[in-house]
């Protein structure tokens, strides 16, 4: 499906000894390329848009990025294990809807702040549980029944959205306590809290994939499922775990969206959001058995820079919010072509 044209770091490009808890971190050439691209774009927009390089604008980017970012992490792990998860957005919405119902129905109107916070925590847990359950359904279909991931998640995408639609009757759920906006609209030391959450989950995903036996097995499973099985890896359990984690991340996205919009509905995002996460993974060279979390993070940043940059550059121009899609498509093609020439013709195959 999403085909990569490269191997994992074939040789260390830079060794950057970092003090403290980190060992010597080897940075791969793909990460550098993405960083360079991000920097170029950032500089470009800082120059042509006067208000781009301001605290306000950067903070605003920090608020917008996390939703797509965490969702992309959810997509990443499913591609990493050799599949794909088209139901991430549907899971996200369902988790938000159910958490939303809970809050609306159970939080007493005149409860004290601390009590509300407690209820919020429970609501968050409910959302996570929903995400986890949705992931389990995917894991069962893909790991145990053996349905190809693209078909299984297409079906569950419809299933989960169907549950949301059915429960809400198409209406949007509102009436959440204002404390909820903490995760969507507040900052700590000037840094948007959702951004911190995004960074937090990025680090968590990195640790999961790079430093746990689960991540190790997931990578090998993605690389060669037959050999993985023959090496004693319990493929079905790993797939189950991967899709469960994907579901949990989707649920977190749902909470982030809820925190920003103070509402929950069955339809935020839709198919295009899902495709966007796949696009980001493609840019970040995520493939079965290959891919770095840091590359995904940078790719999300790149998209945000483009999005905000064009929006500001073209503000006042009709339909400015759409230019980024056009630019994003072209940018991706340019990146593909550039990769083709950088790698020479050898790495290509379909």
């Amino acid at each position: 499906m999403t085909q990569g044209t490269n191997e994992k770091s074939t040789a260390p490009v830079h060794r950057k000894p970092l003090a403290g808890a980190f060992r010597r971190v080897r940075v791969s050439s793909e990460t550098i390329q993405l960083l360079v691209l991000a920097v170029i774009l950032f500089v470009f927009f800082s120059i042509i848009v006067e208000k781009f390089l301001t605290v306000r604008s950067i903070t605003s980017m920090g608020f917008q990025m996390p939703e797509l970012g965490v969702l992309t992490l959810a997509m990443m792990i499913s591609i990493y294990t050799g599949g794909i998860n088209l139901s991430v957005n549907a899971t996200s919405n369902l988790a938000a809807v159910l958490a939303g119902f809970f809050m609306v129905k159970f939080i007493p109107k005149d409860a004290a702040g601390a009590v509300v916070t407690l209820y919020l925590a429970v609501a968050f847990l409910i959302a996570i549980a929903v995400g986890w359950l949705c992931g389990m359904v995917n894991g069962l279909l893909i790991g145990y029944v053996g349905v190809p991931p693209i078909l299984a998640t297409l079906a569950t995408m419809t299933l989960f959205t169907g549950i949301s639609t059915g429960l809400t009757g198409g209406a949007t759920v509102t009436g959440f306590p204002t404390q909820l906006s903490v995760i969507g609209a507040q900052t700590i030391l000037g840094i948007p809290i959702p951004f911190l959450i995004f960074v937090g989950f990025t680090i968590l995903t990195y640790i999961l994939l790079d430093r746990t036996s689960f991540g190790f097995k997931a990578r090998l499973l993605g690389s060669n499922p037959v050999a993985a099985e023959f090496s004693g890896i319990d493929n079905r359990a790993i797939l189950m775990g991967a899709y469960m984690y994907s579901g949990i991340l989707s649920a977190v996205t749902g909470l982030l969206i809820m925190g920003r919009t103070m509402s929950a509905a069955y339809e935020y995002g839709t198919t295009t959001y899902v495709l966007l996460t796949i696009l980001i993974c493609v840019l970040a060279n995520v493939n079965p058995g290959m891919g770095r979390v840091i590359d995904v993070f940078i790719a999300v940043v790149i998209l945000q820079i483009l999005s905000t940059g064009f929006q500001m550059a073209l503000s006042g121009v009709r339909g400015s919010t759409f230019f980024k899609d056009f630019a994003w498509g072209i940018l991706l093609i340019l990146v593909f072509v550039a990769n083709y020439f950088i790698r020479g013709r050898r790495a290509q195959s379909s």
């Binding site: 060992r23 190790f216 990578r219 090998l220 993985a228």
Partner: protein, 504 residues
Amino acid sequence: MTEELLRAEHISKRFGGVVALDDVSLTIRAGEICCLVGENGSGKSTMIKIISGVYTPDEGDIYINGHHYKRLTPIEAIHEGIQVIYQDFSLFPNLTVAENIAINELLASGKQIVDWKEVEQIAREGLAKINASLPLDAVVETLPAADRQLIAIIKALLANARIIIMDEPTTALTQREIQSLFNVIRELKQRGLAILFVSHKLNEVMEIADRTVIFRNGKKVLDQEAAGLDIPTMAYYMTGRRIDTSAVTFEKIDETAPPLLRVEGLTLEGGFYDVSFELKAHEVLGITGLLGSGRTELALSLFGVMPADAGRIFIEGKEISIRSITDAVSHGIGYVPEDRIREGLFLDQPISDNVTVTLIERFLRRLGLLDLRTKSAEAERWIRELEIKTPSGELPTKTLSGGNQQRVVLAKWIARSPKVLILNGPTVGVDVGSKAEIHELIRQLARQGMGILLISDDIPELMQTCHRILLMRAGRIAREFRREEITEQVLNAELVAAATAHSS
């Protein structure tokens, strides 16, 4: 003297610093079945590619049908009537028999519209050429390997082949199918075609060759009429060593000790029936038999890939149940597969990861995090111990040669210290040097206490490593031999006897 179709003179070929062929000359005559024999790495694949124009020799000349070629191209080779049938048969699995047979001719004609009657006609003509009957509208991937091979042969014939080169054609065939194939080959010989039959299976060479050519380490070491050659002689020329099993030290097995592995009445419908045997510590037990004898199924069953339907399995006296690979592994059974690329290796992943995959749980520290440093060190240790030649353990496994790749697969299981290690064709596709080293490794592992099941059809290999050998036929254990009681000749004869008994 029969007509000389192709003459290759003083061919040499180097890849980088490695000499693949060194001053090799070969003549192919019409109406002659010539067997090209050699171990992997002997240069026979390179020779085929040079004869068919895929590679250009660094030195040497090729004369085909009187034409002189310094730099032969594939198209020229095809025009001269040279057709190569590779192991994958070069077919379209999703298209029908008729279409596969006719496709080259269709394309050559340049017509844009497909006339299905014409396709059928071409296909029928093709089938008639070797008197075969295959369902024309069957989709090729539903057919057994033998039928697909026939289609490949027909394609070659339709392309007016005068020389057909077959690369290890019997790999995927059952004994009956091999006999059919040999009949077809003899047919073609009668019609004046030349067949270059590339193989490393000496018993087959004995049966089919008119002329035998042996390569070793890039040189031609033998080229004579097949009559008068016997298997030990061929083996000697192939490996350059006299198989002297007495020079090899075998661990003495404590006959009184309880068996490491005991199998009782194991049965798998359609695979094997009522199999019982014992494996003691320090012992290497060979299981051989022709394709279709059930030996592969037995190995896979013991590893949990195809759980048996009936029977009992005991490890160190305790009865266990093996219903999955994880069961097998947890009971201390390891498996080195036949198809290492598909089943044994993660080619795009680092060598160190390939080696440590079975051990990964050992590197867990607090919070479930991996200790990467220890993991690296352990990987390095096994890379050294098994002498895997690589500049770095972090390079992707696909950068390794075949022999080294096989060592990686071995390393990953040895690192786990299994009680029983099942090896399925461990030196297939491995160069001569590595092969001997792997054999010594097997003996060493046995010395250290492991019980080893060696599934192989390589007679010298069995003789050099096994204490006992079980011969399977039609899913049952037919004979059991102790190494001391038998010689290579006898073993070969038994194998051939099994074959002919079967095909009659």
